[in-house]
């Protein structure tokens, strides 16, 4: 990875000039036949791909109002054009959100609107040729579905929705992305994105128990498949072995231990991430989410709590109830959803975020911290894009911003904010979200991290920041790789519950 040079910081936050074609051919690996077929997609492009693609587009237009309205409504005002981190980092004009949408909109106009059929040149309409399809594959895999563009668009046009539709069309003609489709295959087969089988997980967890015992002298448990536990924890599988993710897992376990909460992980459903979102496929989203419902029913838990993961929390918070009936109001004919409704404890929001859980416990004074344990850090907080713009915590607008910050302030003394133009709802994606966290996309990942790195550098220089907390497995993995390329220590990134873990006092209450 050493051969990848980061783009230079901008001295003034000016909008970069265009470099057409800069990111042409920088897309990801194409999925081989076996991987596509495992998900029920055609293995590769076949002769009739054109008609199939247009038919799929028509199908999506009739099932997704978002796509239909977004295709029509854009006035090319350009408000979104400089808002995408991939555009800022690459300067490729086709990475401007509106231009990314136009890759599909031009085809929509040609096949689905009268002016586009009559006067294609006038309204920027074009036929769906093989070149156009390749362009889709390339540029729709340089979007992390972070929704930043949607915040600034006068009609809320969300390029993420367009990207998802494009990826779904590509999959439907056998032109899938290797990384995302391979991972979805693993979830179906084994139960998590990393393909870690149950026995390996149990091994890891036992090792963790020993480590924590050694470090603290306390018997903190990491239970697996415990029937009748109160809480089922669904967490990204990276938490089981990757650095710094694992430190947050230890943090959750300590919180459960200190509050005397009985909890369990599930070997069958050991993944919070749901890559069905990335490829925009409702069936995949739903099938993957169903594993969690099944685990909750089998284990008979009262609460479902989700670990630190951005896209996963978006799916859990915004979509689980729709997909599986985990919240309130399930279909009376859906026997399993009805069982779940009766089983879960509705005094709590279902599902809850681990930060909601911890913050509730802090407010109830059930946890004791020694803040000085985090004094070696000057901490800042990176709002992960899908938590910030696609979900909520606490049940009031903006809770997803307050609650993690409240926790950090409760467990540490030194906290500073990054530039407000890059936090809260305006936060930048880490550069690795939306199914781009793969080595074949390293170039776009490094460039896409530019705006965040600039503002991190600023607080490092001005305030001495040496720790950037976040609550997303993808952010943690992406930054761990990208920070050294920008000249930071890789350990600068870590989880909020890593800080909790440092400061928590066990066996005091």
């Amino acid at each position: 990875m050493a051969d990848i040079a980061p783009p230079a910081y901008r001295t003034f936050p000016i909008i970069p000039e265009l470099k057409p074609g800069a990111m042409e051919g920088k897309g990801p690996f194409v999925a081989p036949d076996k991987i596509n077929e495992a998900l029920g997609f055609p293995g590769h492009l076949e002769d009739d791909w054109h008609d199939k693609a247009i038919a799929k587009m028509g199908d999506l237009l009739s099932r997704y109002r978002s796509l239909k309205v977004y295709m029509d409504a854009c006035v090319h005002c350009g408000a979104c054009s400089d808002k995408c981190h991939y555009f800022i980092g690459t300067q490729d004009p086709k990475n401007m959100p509106v231009a990314r949408q136009d890759l599909m909109r031009s085809v929509y106009r040609r096949y689905f609107t009268l002016p586009g059929k009559l006067f294609p040149k006038l309204v920027g309409a074009r036929d769906l040729t093989r070149e156009v399809l390749d362009e889709w594959f390339n540029y729709y895999h340089q979007c992390s579905e972070c929704r930043r563009c949607s915040v600034f668009c006068p009609y809320g046009i969300d390029t993420a929705e367009v990207t998802m539709a494009a990826r779904e069309i590509l999959d439907s003609v056998g032109y899938g992305q290797k990384y995302a489709n391979e991972i979805i295959g693993k979830v179906h087969k084994i139960g998590n994105n990393l393909g870690l089988p149950g026995p390996a997980l149990i091994d890891t967890l036992e090792g963790l128990e020993e480590d924590v015992k050694e470090a603290t002298g306390v018997d903190v448990r990491f239970p697996m498949d415990v029937k009748g536990a109160e809480v089922l924890l669904i967490t990204p599988s990276a938490d089981f072995f990757a650095e710094p993710h694992i430190d947050s897992l230890i943090g959750y376990a300590k919180v459960f231990h200190a509050t005397g909460t009985s909890w369990t992980l599930s070997s069958m459903s050991s993944e919070a991430g749901n890559f069905g979102l990335f490829i925009g496929n409702y069936d995949q989203l739903r099938t993957i989410a169903m594993r969690i419902r099944q685990a909750a029913l089998e284990l008979g838990v009262k609460r479902i709590v989700v670990g630190e993961c951005g896209h996963a929390w978006r799916v859990a918070y915004s979509f689980w109830n729709t997909l599986t009936g985990v919240g309130d109001g399930a279909d009376p004919n859906d026997r399993f959803a009805q069982m779940l409704q009766k089983q879960l404890d509705h005094r709590y929001k279902q599902p809850s975020h681990i930060c909601e859980f911890t913050w509730d416990m802090i407010q109830d004074e059930r946890l004791v911290f020694d803040k000085s344990k985090n004094d070696k850090y000057v901490i800042t907080y990176h709002d992960s894009c899908n938590v910030a713009r696609g979900s909520n915590m606490g049940g009031y607008p903006g809770g997803q911003f307050d609650i993690p910050r409240n926790i950090i302030r409760a467990v540490a003394n030194n906290f500073v904010e990054m530039d407000s133009s890059t936090s809260y709802e305006r936060t930048f994606c880490c550069g690795g979200g939306g199914g781009l966290l793969t080595d074949d996309l390293m170039d776009v990942r490094v460039k896409g991290a530019l705006p965040r790195m600039e503002k991190l550098q600023q607080v490092k220089d001005e305030e001495g920041v040496n720790f950037m907390a976040c609550i997303c497995a993808i952010c943690k993995a992406q930054f761990t790789k990208v920070l050294p390329i920008y000249g930071f220590d890789r350990k600068v990134v870590g989880g909020v519950h890593q800080l909790v873990s440092n400061a928590i006092q066990l066996g005091v209450k």
Binding site: Y64, G124, Q400
Partner: protein, 241 residues
């Protein structure tokens, strides 16, 4: 000539009304299967109404997005709104009190409308990014609106056509009778352009006006955990199980 124009006016108005209603029905009938409100998202229906009002009246998101576009765009739209209100006097007899009251403001609005449009056009021409994303139709749309506004101003300040006759013509059209229109070139140009705009409305980017109200990222309340949201086609998957 009056008759020819009358036919065009009827035709374009028909396309406008039928096309727009059909489009709106289409939007309303297409489900939004998932909850996707964009932050800052209100958690209640009342909050959504407030958010929508702020978007329509103040262009709130655009204000966050780009100040210059916001200034030009807002100036153009609200000037246009005033100008449209001012034109109600051609269709009402007697003229409503408040329409009478805004007449003088409507004239200034014509000027600020052109100013706003020129600002938007300048952005399209001089800002590299915006030029890149512009299609010929984007320019034509602005030129058309500038044409409408400036031909209107021309009639106000230079060659007055007989406005009583104009009013009679429109009152006549409203009762399906075609009367004489003053043969004034600028007037014909003005009206042809206005009704061209109506003609293309339901098949162009002007659909942003109804589109905003149907945009799921703006019109949904953020309450997925409290209330199950499910589209009819998605609910079917459930009973298949």
């Amino acid at each position: 000539m009056s008759t020819l124009l009358a036919i065009f006016i009827y035709l374009s108005t028909l396309v406008f009304v039928v096309g727009l209603l059909q489009r709106i029905r289409d939007y309303a009938g297409t489900p939004a299967p998932l909850k996707i409100p964009t932050t800052p998202a209100p958690t209640t229906g009342g909050g959504v109404v407030l958010r929508m009002v702020r978007e329509v009246v103040f262009f709130e998101s655009l204000f966050k997005g780009n100040l210059w576009t916001w200034v030009s765009g807002w100036l153009f739209h609200f000037s246009m709104l005033l100008v449209v209100f001012r034109h109600l006097r051609y269709f009402t007899e007697p003229v409503w009190g408040w329409v009478d009251f805004i007449q003088p403001f409507g004239i200034y609005a014509g000027i600020t409308m052109v100013a706003g449009l020129l600002g938007l056009l300048a952005r399209r021409i001089f800002v590299e990014r915006i030029r890149y994303i512009s299609t010929p139709s984007d320019f034509l749309m602005l030129v058309l609106l500038i044409g409408i506004a400036s031909s209107g101003l021309l009639m106000k300040f230079v060659g007055h056509p007989d406005v009583i006759m104009v009013k009679n013509y429109f009152l006549g059209l409203m009762h399906l009778s075609i009367r004489e229109l003053p043969s004034n070139f600028v007037l014909y140009a003005h009206l042809s352009m206005v009704f061209t705009l109506l003609l293309i409305f339901p098949m162009s980017k002007l659909l942003h006006a109804p589109g905003l109200f149907f945009s799921p990222s703006r019109n949904q309340a953020d309450n997925p955990r409290e209330k199950r949201h499910i589209a009819p086609w998605a609910a079917k998957l459930e009973s298949e199980k």
